[in-house]
Symmetry: C2
Subunit: 376 residues, 2 copies
């Protein structure tokens, strides 16, 4: 039966709290917990011992009472599925304290299975006809507006040259702006504005939706002129996003929104790193852009968190393309120069309410946003 | 447009850290963040102010620097979808510190939309033909066993009278035990044992799987004799589980496994309470049993956590039936009397490795497990 095992391994890097003895015990526990779920003494089969139980490849002190553990697993524990990959790297172990998933490294055989983003940075720039400058994004809000009001807003934002006009992620299928009607009217409004001003704006409806209708909504959006999709993989599951990215009929850029994922990064000594969750896992699961709350906005990410996330969006993952970090969360136009300086040009700048409050002339505000973004 | 709003509201109860001023600021922020995502001053439409922004119905001190906030939202913010319900009660706010979702209260109009568990406690007892005693459950493990070995194990466990023989949640579709072959052989083995001993055991395969194939796997399992299903809603998304529970063709009991959900309960001052996450949300999303790590096992739940979880499994939720708490996670047979005393009879006792290590005679161990569980 050993021929089942290729010898190829994936590696997950964890930070473990405790002194060396404690950290080693955690690492050893992890090798069992994420695979056989039995005490070591009960695993007698030599093939299983050699090929299923995880292996501690390195355990290094990195700070006082903090260790970095590189633990590798046979690719065969995964069975080619993202759901099981998530389970092996952070399933049960999410329930134990003092273990933080920092980074993953996948071998070629797994990278071949996960296609990652359909567009990535290069593809999205081509798709949106924006070769160099930062991309501009805003949100249709607030929840409660009618379809007519949202479409009017979308028209003006497109006239102002915003590249991606997305639904607020709280727009689902509510009675005040039902999904299908909203998509038809907002996509039409953006197309009309593009014609009127020669622009290339796209509308990105929120397709975070119940399991049985999500594919249907994505297809409806595509057929009715949406130019991108917004989804919250924390709510739908990461593999749902992956399936949408892999769907050749849908074939639209995907913006990943962090709603319901905050608990993974709430505690510095457990959960998942910003690098891995918003960068690596978003990419594996097909996102072209990772929306996140910028440092100094309504949320509490630090600059260091944001930089780590940006690294996760672009770190080498073989065939998995880099994606756009998309800082957001209460950014006003006055902060654009600072964001431009911090993130460089490979960024999607997402300004929501701040774009609306700058002056009463929304189109002028959009133009000003673009000028700020273009300045180096 | 006011006719769109019924006046019915759902309520979410949060624990907020800080002094009264800080807690009130958090509560106010929450009413905006979970709905309009705009600063209060930018929301000028009176209909939206009255119907969309959340409302602080109560703010009560419960400990030093800890407040309980009851915040209600119009049912229209939900649009009848579990995905958007999750978003409204804990989407963006999951990213802010010092806010813990403790409990939800849904009005009749929402409870009517979510059917909850198909079986619940009463239905599962009927289905398994176990009117009174605690139900017995175990797991096929370790990962790495062949289909033949798993089926042999399943046969013996069924012969020993274990009510539910589930896959370990790490069994997916790996080369050593591919899903379809495993389901066919294990279901057949359990059926044969039932015939041989006049039992009623069921086999519950793990259907945690990629989005495009999960429904297919559940149907395959049903068609080939599986008697229940195991799923990790933290990985697939809660609504995926709900869709499976609502599927009249599948119509099997569902065991919910907590893999990848640990981060929601890692920090006592953020995330989601055990009561709400494993109790209320599991029920809303159609689970018949909530698997969780028992106090004093391989994980770190306290007795208080476990009791809160049990409460969440049975608290009045209108038409949503109570479900079985299913303590697990490194329980040996010697702990069954204590679990019996703590959980009473309305429990599924899940003993995995402990059942195997008790003595070399697995069938005898199963019988002993049952005797212990039947004793009051």
């Amino acid at each position: 039966m050993t021929t089942l095992y290729s010898g190829e391994r994936l590696t997950a890097i964890y930070h473990l709290t405790g002194n060396e003895t404690e950290a080693r015990a955690k690492a050893q526990d992890l090798t069992l917990e994420q695979t056989v779920e039995l005490p070591d003494a009960l695993v007698t089969d030599p093939t299983i011992r050699a090929n299923i139980i995880g292996r501690i490849d390195e355990l290094t002190p990195i700070a006082s009472d903090l260790y970095s553990a590189e633990i590798s697993f046979s690719v065969e524990t995964i069975g080619d599925e993202l759901t099981q990959l998530i389970n092996v790297i952070f399933g049960n172990i999410s329930i134990k304290p003092g273990i933080r998933l920092e980074r993953i490294e996948l071998p070629p055989s797994l990278l071949k299975i996960f296609h990652g983003p359909r567009f990535g940075r290069v593809g999205l720039r081509e798709f949106l006809n924006v070769p160099e400058r930062p991309l501009l994004c805003t949100a249709l809000k607030p929840m409660g507006l009618s379809v007519e009001e949202l479409a009017d807003l979308a028209y003006q934002l497109a006239l102002g040259g915003i590249d991606i006009i997305k639904d607020d992620h709280g727009l689902a299928n509510q009675p005040f702006a039902p999904f299908e009607e909203r998509v038809v009217r907002c996509a039409e409004a953006v197309a009309r504005a593009n014609q009127d001003c020669g622009g290339h704006s796209v509308y990105a409806p929120n397709i975070t939706a119940p399991f049985p209708v999500i594919l249907e909504r994505a297809r409806f959006a595509k057929q009715h002129g949406a130019g991108a999709l917004l989804i919250c993989p924390g709510i739908t599951g990461l593999d749902t996003m992956r399936a949408l990215a892999d769907d050749d009929e849908i074939a639209l850029p995907i913006l990943s929104h962090p709603a319901f994922q905050g608990s993974y990064i709430a505690d510095r000594t457990s959960g998942i790193s910003h690098f891995c969750l918003f960068g690596q896992l978003n990419r594996l699961a097909g996102a072209d852009a990772a929306i996140f709350p910028n440092a100094g906005g309504r949320f509490f990410f630090t600059k260091q968190d944001c930089r780590a996330l940006v690294d996760g969006c672009s770190t080498n993952m073989g065939t998995i393309a880099p994606i756009f970090p998309t800082p957001a969360g209460g950014m006003g136009l006055q902060r654009v120069p600072e964001m431009r300086a911090m993130y460089g040009r490979d960024v999607i700048l997402l300004v929501g309410g701040g774009l609306r409050s700058h002056s009463p002339d929304l189109v002028a505000n959009c133009n000003f946003f673009r000028e700020l973004a273009e300045k180096m």
